[in-house]
Structures are given as C-alpha cells and as structure tokens.
C-alpha cells in the first residue's frame, strides 16, 4: 500500500484527479488530492494575497494533519512548483517525487521566470492580480463539458512568488521521476518549461524519465496510463 498525494495544476482543482483516484484506490492505495486555495473548489478563498506559499502550506498541512508518511508526492504542471516548495516542510515524509508535465524549479525561481508568463502586476491603480485560464483540450467531450466550466482564474502571486529549495533535488535522497506528455509539440517562440524539464532530467542518473502519449491534460485524458506509471514506481 502506497500513499499518494497528487497536486493539481493552475486553474484546476482536486477534481482534476476524479478519474485517477478510483484506479489507485481499487489497487489498494491511499490517495490524497489537496485542493489549492483560491482556485477550483477553493475559489471562494481567492485573494491577491494567495501565493505559492499558500499552496505549499495547503499541501504541507494536509500531510501534517492527515499524518502521512512514506509518500509518493506528485505535482502536475504548476503543481511541480508546489511539491518542490513543500519539501522544506515535509521532505522527510516523501519517498518519491513525481513531476507530471510540470515545472521543475531550482531555488529562487518562479513560474514567471520559467514559463514566459506575463503575470499580473504589482499593486497599483487597476492592477490585475488574476490570470484567466488558458485554453486546454480534453479528448472526451463529456470530460470537456465537466472540466471547462470548473477552470477558474489563478491569482498572479502564485506565478510570481519564488520557490524555496534548500538543496538541489538530486541531493535529497528522494526518488525522482519526470513524466512528459509528448503530444504537445515544443514551442519555440517562448520558453517551454515542460520540455526544458524533460531535457534536463532525461539522461540524468538521479531521475527516471517516462513518456505518455497525450497532450498536457494527462490526468483527464490518460488516467489509466498515468496509473500504470505510478504502479511501476514500486
């Protein structure tokens, strides 16, 4: 029995995992899917004050309060920022980190640094602190009808706040896996952080590298393939 903690991405919510949870639970595993503050089911708590630190606390406190240990901690997309920041607090409770088509930040980096996003500005007259959802593609029209209305704006501070990571990931003694969704072609006119992360880790001896033939929305479009990858981590 493995304890999985699955962290969703920007503009998402815990419902991102609704097709993945039953696959893992039926196989006998424990699955926790923290809902990040200010988006999805926690959108009633949104504020310009919500930042990456808030989301790190969301994940760390679910782990603390549920008393979880020996965790496989997965971050999807922006969730890669969150699981990286959570290591400061719960690193000793994590057995394996899984970055699923995700940011793999070094210390002090933010989504804006890595992703070429224009995030909302600083305080000021007419300051825009909320970033509308990016268009995403769901293979199943029924899933699209479910997921699209549930995509919510993302508070900009989650993209501008830098992550803290005391030591490089490869020195922590935690297993490292990167899973790339390969159906999205690499973009060339701006940074492509998820392909750049793949380049960084593909041949690195500290990392396992896996691919899934899907666009970015793996949790909704390829839940069974994702579950297979997770089972294979042992």
């Amino acid at each position: 029995m493995t304890t999985f903690v699955l962290v969703h991405g920007a503009w998402g919510g815990a419902h991102t995992w609704r097709s993945v949870r039953p696959l893992l639970r039926t196989a006998g595993h424990a699955v926790f899917t923290p809902a990040l503050t200010g988006i999805g089911e926690r959108s009633h708590l949104v504020s310009p004050q919500v930042g990456l630190t808030t989301h790190v606390d969301d994940v760390a406190n679910q782990i603390f309060y549920e008393g979880l240990d020996d965790i496989v901690l997965l971050g999807f997309s922006y969730g890669g920022m969150v699981i990286t920041g959570a290591l400061e607090h719960v690193g000793d409770r994590v057995r394996e980190l899984v970055y699923l088509d995700a940011f793999v930040p070094d210390d002090g980096r933010s989504v804006v640094d890595l992703g070429g996003f224009d995030a909302g500005g600083p305080p000021g007259i007419g300051a825009d602190w909320s970033i509308p959802p990016r268009v995403r593609t769901f293979d199943d029209p029924a899933e699209a009808a479910f997921a699209e209305p549930r995509r919510t704006p993302q508070p900009a501070r989650t993209f501008t706040e830098p992550v803290r990571l005391a030591r490089p990931l490869e020195t922590l003694g935690i297993g490292l896996t990167y899973v790339k969704a390969t159906r999205d072609a690499r973009v060339s006119d701006r940074p492509d952080p998820f392909w750049e992360a793949a380049d960084r880790v593909r041949d690195h001896p500290s990392w396992r590298y896996r691919e899934i033939d899907s666009n970015h929305m793996v949790p909704q479009n390829r839940p069974a393939e994702l579950a297979e990858v997770l089972f294979s981590l042992g």
Copy 2:
C-alpha cells in the same frame, strides 16, 4: 474641535475625501477616513470573504484604536450601511450620524434588499462574487481623470449581508442628519433607496434634513457645500 469619521461608498476608497479633509482640518477639526477592505487602496485585500461585517469592523476598529469619542460619523452612499452596523460596537462614542445620499437601513436589511441590485450569487461553478463599478459622473474633468481609474469592483457579500441594528436609529439618543443630493432624478423602474430615505426622514422630528444641489458624488463635486453642512451641525 469636532472629530469627524467619514466613511466612503461602494467601489470607492479613502481618497473619496481628498477634497473634504483639508477643508475640515483647516477649520481645526480632526478627520478620520477609514479605508474599507477590498476596495480602493485596500483592493489588494479583496476576497469573496469580505462582507458588510468586515467593513463594520474596519470602522469600529479605527474608532477603538484611535480612541475616538464624541464623533460625527458620516456614511456616504453604501457607507450608510457601514455606519449603521458600526453602532452595535461604537454607538456610545457617536454624537451625530450623518447619512450623505446614503442607505438608511432598518435592522436585518441589506443593499440587495434596499437597492434592487443583482448581487453575485452563492458559491458555485462560475460564481460571480465581484460587482463591477457603476458609472458615476464627476463635474470636473480633472477629478474624473483622478477618480475613475480608482473605482474598483466591490465584493458582493458587502451587498448581500444584512445589517444588525439592535434598536431603531431614532431611539438611540444620537443626532440624525440626512443630506440628499438633489440633482439625480428619482428613478421609477426600480427602487431608489436614497430618495426613499429622504422621504422617510424629511419631516421626521428626530431628523435634520439638508439638500445639496449635486449629483450623487457630493464628496468630489461639492466638497465646500458638504463642509458647510458639517460645520452647521454644531
């Protein structure tokens, strides 16, 4: 020397009073202009959680922490809701209430009840918790250029949360003044809460009733006339 506490309206901010403050201070009075959470200069603190109670606390806590007493407490427009709710906490520190083209709510009433507003709904998919600014008219183009970009969305809970008022205003032993801006014609296709308030108090023996020949934006458009009314309250 009188202590004035001036409470701004919806979509506004403490800067509403920038032309009024110097007139009162030059005449030797103390002037406090609390900034309501989530709008104007406090827009970085906005959240769906911000409601009428938050604003009542904003005003009551400024009065408590500054140690103010024997106050002339003025509410402009939506500020009438706020000063009414503040009486529960600081009623014994208020000498005179001034409603400036404002809501004059009975216990248990909200802006939505009184004003015919469609406020944002309860939580839900796509819930809209923020109400865009209404268009307002400033007589001076320079003031318009200053004020219009500073109008911010108003969190809906400030309009849906009912006010608490333990006893009718007329029984509190506090002076009562209503100031109507008379240049805005009464609307007939929906409730007109500021004219309805004028009707209620115009001939009431407990109230003083004054008029200023202006549209609704008296603090910006008629600061000198407003100061004269305030000086006349003694």
Copy 3:
C-alpha cells in the same frame, strides 16, 4: 507643504502617530499614516497569510490611491522593512526616506535575519504563526494606559519574508536620513539591528544621521523632537 507618509512598527498601528500628526498638520503639512494589515486597527484582518508583502502593498496602495508624490516616507522600527520594500513600487514618488530607529535591510534580508528573532515556524501541527508583543516603555503613564492595550500580536510571516530592493538605497537618488533613539543601550548578547544600522550610516556621505534622546518609542515619547527633525529635512 510636505507630504509625509509615516509607517508604524510591529505590534503597532496608525494610532502610533496620534501625537505626531497634529504637530505636522498644524504646520501645514499633509500626513498619511497607513494602518498595516493584521495589527492594531486592522487586527480583525489577521491571518498566517499576512506577510511583509501585504504591508508593502498597504503602503504602496495608499500612495497610489491618494495620488501622493514628492513624499517624505518614514518607517519606524519594523516600518523600515516596509518602506524599503515599497520602493519597488513607489520609489519614484519618494523624495526622502527616514528610518526612525528602524531596520535598514539589504535586498533579500528579513527581520529574522537581522534581528535575532525567533519567528513562528513553518506550517505544521501546532504551528505558531503569531508573535506576542514585546514589552515597551512609555514615559507618560497616560500614554502607557492608551498604548499598551492596543499592542497586538504580529503575524510571523512579516518577520520571515525577505524584502526586495533592486538597487542599494544609496544609489536611488533619494535623500536618506537615519534617526537613532539613543537611550536604549546597545545589547550585546544578540544582534542589535537599530544600533547596527546607526553604525552603518553614521559617517556615510549619502546619509544624514540624527539622534533623539529617547527609548525606542519615539513617536509616543518624543513627538515634538521628532517633528523638529522632520521639519529640518526641508
């Protein structure tokens, strides 16, 4: 006529300035005293999420929304962190910076870094995110009776979050003044950030250095002397 923006310290509030404001206003100056979120009159907004960034936004947004320019921006004690961080947003609106017995941080430094504080910990079971007020001494018993009950706990994130300062203070083309309260002896068993700041700037050609014979609580204990220093800045 000068525009003063006075930023209070930890465990304080805008009421810190109640004896200073009238001295400056009577002399014809404009005075703004932003209330920092989560303490003093804004203690009803306290939360573990409140950090240095929140306070920087409090000050920057008051300056933006009031349309202030050519400012003398003063930070008292912890307020030195806040005015330093505000320069990122409003540096071009500041004529003179005044640090009053205050932190003078370099880029990336926090109160915990500078001050030898034990701040509250990270998220976790029983996490302590609130720092009780330090004991302070007020010369006048009446002032003590007023001020002491108004001292509120300080959210720890204001002490742990590092400040951002793109370029050293001395290169910004803004006047720099440090005012040391000299009656508190330097402590030797832990860092003494306010004396260390005095050492840094005392003979620096970019700084003016002044002393006031008082303990740390200059705004309450020496308002007239403080006003004289401010008048002397021209």
